[in-house]
Amino acid sequence: MSSGFTKAMARNIFYGGSVFFFLLFLGLTFDTHRKLPKRDNSQAITESVVRGKLVWETNNCIGCHTLLGEGAYFAPELGNVYARRGPEFIKFWMKAQPTNAPGRRQMPQFNLTDQQLDDLVEFLKYANGINTEKWPPNIEG
């Protein structure tokens, strides 16, 4: 770096640049929240969905699965599992675990009540309705 460019100038670029872009980020954040109601399927958030999200969280589903592509990559994407498998299959599947097939990846038995299973399915149905810009590329997730 040439001698005309001083430490003080570098420091000012750091402070000025950071503040400017953070404010821009705040502006975009504000705008995003204004636009979300049309995209985030929030009208579908019922009490059951809220309970279902808690079931999702307190069983650490994200530790194996992805949800809208975020999570672990050990087990299938579940953001669109409602469309891929349907409600009855999901409940049946949860009840049938673990498969105990030798050498295959195993999903634990979470011992969910029928109510919890219904709530979880409602949550996944809601997630399936979020506008994700057509992601994932196909139904397999």
Binding site: F25, H33, N60, F74, P98, P108, E140
Partner: protein, 459 residues
């Protein structure tokens, strides 16, 4: 060691290395579960192993950052640490809280742990990387505040340098953005949106400040290059880090329900995120080439240069690989993400902490540098760990490309598990490479116990 209170770092570094060991073991278990699915099931299901693996990573890096700060801040401030006692108390609080949390993860069903720890008061658990029980999260905030108070008072009472200010800013940012871990709206889109304010604004934001400050500190010490030059570089690097990284958060907002314009904002800004990492590489090599002294701690210099290169490769190149929206549409949530995650965390954060440990530990133990023999063993550890991490990343990348092709691009897309079976060979290769990483780590630990005459610079 110029100030006796710097010795408190040793506690933190020891805990960091201990937790790193645990992280590697859990990683090997998970790697095996990828191909031998029922390994250790149901004793340690994958989701639990993964949570322990990633949480241990975060905690050992935090121990590393705190240890580094307790060494760096007094030295930069030319001042004893404000309260060494507070640093010691907080160490034990953090260690015990961390250990109890891990025991809780491993011994209890996660839902039961949530119930016992008040998750019904404020639901914050069960989100990736933020799985900690509410009480642990509160504990982290308390420890962070005590720690920040301690080092801020030290800075205020002494000389203020660019390095110490940047370090302080980064650490304050770390604590402030962690507060978003308490934000968990029922609306999944908003939940994910704010979740990234912790995760992204940490690792692609304020952590880069901490990393830059640590690297600059070690480079001043081992090269003797003028502080004015080093701090100017530091400011330019972190300026680019935040200018690109803040809006760069947008690359996580493509497919989670946020407006489509994030595909533009995220792609353009995050495409520039490699710049600061590239500058770090140039910085490290440039400073070492222009060195005005020969430092007997050669392995610390190796770690510093290695950090620059590996951070650029892992965070910069592998980040860029899948950051553009049209590419990310196919790579999102695949093994490509895992590949990037591994090399970026190792190359940027694990390595910078080991750089700091490598430079400071000999001094804390009363010598400028370790013996030649100890340094050679540590260099072997450096190369084994670093090269095996490169291969872990390459194998995961291969697995990812194949996975994407089979599951997302092919005319008749395969279901997830069918595609996983097809890429199993790469998971085996990754696991073998993981064992090499472990061997490297064992050598690393051994290097601390090798005695001998401290190395000197040949006259």
């Amino acid at each position: 060691m110029k100030y006796s209170s710097q010795a408190v770092s040793q506690l933190y570094f020891t805990a960091a290395i201990g937790l790193f060991a645990g992280q590697i073991l859990l990683g090997l278990i998970m790697g095996l579960q990828y191909v031998v699915g029922d390994f250790l099931f149901p004793a340690i299901p994958f989701n639990i192993a993964r949570m322990v693996h990633t949480n241990q990573l975060i905690v050992w890096l935090l121990f590393g950052f705190m240890g580094a700060a307790y060494y760096l801040i007094p030295e930069e401030s030319e001042n004893e640490l404000y309260s060494p006692l507070l640093a010691k108390i907080l160490f034990w609080v953090f260690l015990v809280a961390g250990a109890l949390t891990i025991v809780g993860y491993l011994m209890l069903p996660y839902a039961r742990l949530a119930e016992l720890t008040g998750n019904n008061l404020l639901a914050t658990m069960g989100r990736e990387f933020l799985e900690q029980p509410l009480i642990t999260k509160i504990g982290i905030v308390i420890v962070a505040l005590g720690f920040l108070f301690n080092i801020s008072m030290t800075v205020l009472g002494g000389r203020k340098t660019g390095i110490s200010l940047v370090m302080l800013l980064g650490l304050w940012g770390l604590a402030i953005f962690f507060l978003f871990s308490f934000v968990n709206p029922d609306n999944l889109v908003k939940d994910k949106f704010w979740w990234w304010w912790v995760v992204h604004l940490w690792v692609e934001g304020v952590w880069e400040l901490i990393m830059g400050a640590m690297l600059a500190f070690v480079l001043i010490k081992v090269t003797g290059v003028d502080r004015e030059v080093i701090e100017k570089w530091l400011y330019v690097i972190i300026a680019f880090a935040l200018i690109t990284g803040i809006i760069g958060t947008g690359h996580h907002y493509y497919w989670i329900g946020a407006p489509g314009y994030w595909q533009w904002w995220g792609s353009v800004f995050s495409a520039m995120e490699p710049i600061p990492f590239f500058m770090m590489t140039v910085f490290a090599f440039n400073m070492v080439n222009r060195r005005r002294r020969e430092h007997p701690n050669k392995v610390a210099t190796l770690w510093a240069m290695g950090t620059g290169v590996m951070a650029f490769l892992g965070a910069g190149v592998w980040g860029f690989l899948h950051t553009l929206a049209p590419v990310n549409y196919y790579t999102h949530g695949t093994q490509i993400t895992a590949a990037h995650g591994h090399m970026a965390f190792y190359g940027a954060y694990a390595m910078v902490v080991m750089t700091m440990i490598s430079y400071t530990m000999p001094i804390i133990r009363g010598r400028e540098a370790n013996s030649e023999r100890a340094q050679i063993v540590e260099m072997w550890a450096f190369w084994l760990m670093t090269i095996s991490m490169v291969f872990i990343t390459l194998f995961l990348t291969a697995a990812g490309i194949l996975q994407i092709w089979l599951q997302r691009v092919a005319e008749t897309p395969m279901p997830f598990m069918a595609a996983q079976d097809q890429v199993a060979m790469f998971y085996w290769l990754r696991e073998v490479t993981g064992v090499v990483f472990l061997i490297g780590f064992i050598l690393y630990v051994c290097s601390f116990f090798i005695k001998g005459e401290p190395a000197k610079v040949a006259a």
